[in-house]
């Protein structure tokens, strides 16, 4: 798995950052946390190139660093998850396009391309791009509103910054500042358009994409569509409302939501048939996904083999441990065929023999 992961990572890096960065990234993936000089020695690249690649990787938040014992030197490590997320960038952009429209899409796209940027420069750039493409220009004020709505909806967060002047900066941010709406001076932006001097109020305040928020949206969408497919559209709609209400009193990534009163959902549906006994519902978020995963696995077995193999697979899942004789009896499949199928399943690692 790890070797495969390494190959994928190096392909992703090579496509986006070129062979030099790819070499440094792959080295960091293979050897974990290492200081600069080790990377230089073992990649056999010139020091300036190694430095530049590390800068790029840090800029795109794919590499993180912590100070070594010697405080002037840092240890670098590659964040493999973040590299994989680069494959999802189109999905993030598309999600915003659907939810907030084209201008917001462009904001997210620009930020993803640069990893982080100041609000003022970002708005100016998007304004410039929009005025190039279309005849009717979008006013800067409207773009500012769009940006702020992305911040308040937590799709954008502030980048951690460093305080003090250490050789290895200690990047921190407190939770309040993450979603604090920035001070953007429209007058300054208009002035900046005509002049070449750029000096904005928010010079050192960078904004970046909050991947977690996107994943939350994607998860909700998966749950809703799964319910719609499995039951019907009403069920999908109901779960959607349930999820919407859930966020009022539950942490987004909790395994199980806190109870949501049915009355609230009825209120939402504007149905006047109020019953005395309301009751409340919980969403088992984690359980729902475990269920989805099982269904996908069963579907895989069904597609790869046949319905009989799927039957054996479900039987083993149900019983957890089962003797091969029992499989033949309970699945009602002739002995020879059952043996052949369970052997095939075993060989392709769909089943496991606990004794070996």
């Amino acid at each position: 798995m790890s070797a495969q992961l390494g190959k994928v990572l190096s392909l992703i890096l090579c496509e986006r950052f070129g062979p030099v960065v790819e070499k440094v990234g792959t080295y960091l993936f293979q050897y974990g946390t290492t200081p600069l000089l080790y990377i230089k020695r073992n990649t056999e690249l010139p020091l300036s190139k190694v430095k530049e690649s590390l800068c790029i990787l840090i800029k795109y938040r794919l590499v993180s660093f912590v100070p070594n014992k010697n405080e002037n030197v840092a240890n670098y490590s590659l964040d493999a998850e973040k590299v994989l997320l680069m494959l999802r960038y189109p999905k993030y952009i598309n999600l915003i396009k659907k939810k907030f429209g084209d201008e917001s899409e462009m904001i997210i796209e620009e930020i993803l391309q640069r990893s982080y940027w100041t609000a003022s420069e970002l708005i100016l750039k998007v304004h410039e791009r929009l005025s190039k493409n279309t005849e009717n220009t979008v006013p800067l004020l409207e773009l500012k509103e769009k940006f702020i709505s992305l911040v308040t909806a937590k799709y954008l967060i502030r980048l951690p910054y460093s305080e003090g002047d250490k050789p290895i900066p200690d990047l921190k941010i407190n939770d309040k500042e993450l979603h604090l709406v920035p001070n953007i001076d429209i007058k300054q932006l208009i002035n900046a358009k005509s002049s070449t001097v750029h000096d904005f109020l928010d010079r050192n305040i960078y904004w970046t994409v909050n991947f977690d928020r996107f994943h939350q949206d994607m998860r909700d969408k998966i749950i809703v569509t799964a319910f719609t497919i499995k039951f019907d559209e009403n069920a999908g709609e109901f779960v959607k409302l349930l999820l919407q209400q859930m966020y009022i009193r539950t942490e987004p990534w909790a395994d199980v939501s806190n109870p949501v009163p049915i009355l609230e959902i009825k209120d939402l549906l504007k149905k006047q048939t109020r019953e005395a006994s309301g009751g409340s519902f919980q969403i088992y978020l984690k359980e729902a996904f475990t269920q989805f995963a099982w269904e996908i696995v069963e579907q895989c077995v069904l597609e790869k083999f046949d319905s009989k193999a799927a039957r054996i697979f479900r039987l083993v899942k149900l019983k957890k441990y089962i003797e091969s004789d029992q499989i033949q009896q309970l699945a009602m499949i002739p002995a020879k065929e059952a043996k052949r199928l369970s052997y095939q399943l075993l060989e392709e690692n769909f089943l496991k023999n606990p004794r070996t």
Binding site: G18, P19, L36, N72, V73, P90, K91, N94, Q113, I168
Partner: protein
């Protein structure tokens, strides 16, 4: 030679029976089992596909996602974040162009260095910025000093004193620059002490040419 003939091509299908029936039975070859006929075709280039993957459903959304992906990759490859392998020394002219391109402000990424470890800062940057600042200060102050000298020759002693002060500052700034360079090096592991021995031979040559009597 004779041994080779038996064990090689003719050995297996030959007339002489090498095993009797009991031995064949023990190995699992029974009498009434038909032997496979001669293989007249070459084996397939690839093993047979047992199961075909599910076809991708093309949709407008998928196309749009693909376009977004390609846009992003194109942007990255044109940006300063895309590094190519350092060129070989044989391609000198190309390298010179690369160096020129690299000096353009747009071709290099600009970083906010407060967010990066200081050891990653390129040395060139630190030097250039500081030297420029020093020079500008000198020019302005010198000019004003000269003006003052012209205007007020009476107060010559006073200006001379200030001049000395200015020079002192200059020295301090130069020292600061030096310190920075050392910081960039970090430890002296970065220095290359490796001697490939070429210089040694050069010296030898010089000796041979040697002193002229």
């Amino acid at each position: 030679m004779s041994g080779r003939g038996r064990g090689g091509r003719g050995g297996r299908g030959g007339t002489a029976k090498s095993f009797n029936k009991e031995q064949l039975n023990a190995m699992g070859v029974t009498g009434n089992e038909v032997l496979p006929g001669p293989v007249s075709q070459p084996p397939a280039l690839y093993p047979m596909l047992e199961r075909r993957p599910v076809p991708l459903n093309a949709s407008l959304e998928l196309d749009y996602l693909l376009i977004l992906r390609q846009d992003f990759i194109d942007h990255m490859q044109l940006s300063g974040s895309y590094l190519n392998m350092p060129e070989n020394k044989k391609n000198q002219p190309e390298q010179a162009i690369d160096k020129l391109v690299a000096q353009l402000p747009s071709a290099k990424e600009k970083y906010d260095w407060t967010l990066f470890p200081s050891e990653l800062r390129p040395k060139m940057l630190a030097k250039r910025v500081k030297k420029k600042v020093v020079k500008e200060v000198n020019l302005e102050e010198r000019l004003t000093l000269l003006e003052k000298l012209e205007e007020k020759s009476d107060e010559a002693d006073m200006t001379a004193n200030t001049e000395i002060k200015v020079e002192d500052e200059e020295v301090e700034e130069v020292e600061a620059v030096d310190e920075d360079e050392e910081m960039d090096d970090g430890t002296d592991y970065a220095n290359n002490y490796f001697d490939n021995g070429e210089d040694y031979e050069d010296e030898d040559d010089n000796l041979e040419d040697g002193p002229i009597y």
